[in-house]
């Protein structure tokens, strides 16, 4: 199943609910792929400080997805470019997969994909859930 995150964080609860849904699905051992597109790419921008708007910042918890077997988070390149964002604006975390744990090197948490790649991925799913 594919989770699509379309919305920016903090302006509504949609983004946080999307993360909760992914965690729930992963906890039930579903084969989960997670992608960020449109304003959803803002969820992964580093340096978010919500202390002045009175909202708890849920986005650091996105990094915990790796511990639920979700693998790399896919981010659409075209969505980044249109919004003035680039790879270096996003969280710079790595994940340890079963394969890499044995070999040593870790893989980046985030993998950029093109719109065409993401479109093809959508077509390959049994279930697509959008937030």
């Amino acid at each position: 199943m594919l989770f699509l995150h379309h919305r920016a964080p903090h302006g509504s609860v949609v983004a946080q609910e999307g993360l909760d849904a992914v965690l729930a699905a992963a906890a039930f051992d579903q084969n989960v792929t997670v992608a960020y597109l449109d304003d959803g790419v803002f969820q992964l921008v580093h340096g978010q400080d919500t202390s002045s708007i009175g909202i708890k910042n849920f986005t650091p918890a996105i990094r915990a997805l790796a511990h639920y077997g979700v693998g790399q988070l896919l981010v659409e390149q075209e969505s980044l470019s249109a919004r003035g964002l680039a790879r270096q604006d996003l969280v710079d975390a790595t994940i340890e997969t079963d394969e890499t744990a044995a070999r040593g090197p870790q893989v980046p948490l985030i993998r950029l994909v093109t719109r065409a790649e993401l479109s093809a991925l959508m077509e390959a799913q049994d279930v697509v859930l959008s937030f």
Partner: protein
């Protein structure tokens, strides 16, 4: 007779900012707040579009920028950053506040 327009939605997902720009008059103010501040990010399509708006002072709410990881240096140069006190001051200085939903 000047109006302060406020936009609290992302222009990439919603149409509030586009509709606001269809109506805004020279001398008006435009305050970007909540997800509206996403329009302020340099290099983005909407920051470019706001750069072409003449005669309108454009502001973005600092706490909302910080919450979204948008650094002061990444805000388009024609946009002034204000804090909550600055927001109140603007609301008082302009004749009216019109929020675009």
């Amino acid at each position: 007779m000047a109006t302060l327009h406020t936009v609290n939605q992302s222009p990439y997902g919603r149409t509030a900012l586009a509709r606001c720009l269809n109506y805004i008059q020279p001398g008006a103010g435009l305050l970007l707040m909540e997800d509206g501040v996403l329009a302020a990010l340099t290099g983005g399509a909407w920051a470019d579009r706001l750069g072409g708006v003449d005669g309108v002072e454009i502001f973005a709410l600092g706490p909302d920028l910080a919450a979204r990881g948008i650094a002061i240096g990444a805000v388009a140069p024609n946009i002034r950053i204000v804090d909550y006190a600055g927001f109140v001051k603007l609301a008082v200085e302009y004749d009216r506040v019109q929020s675009w939903l």
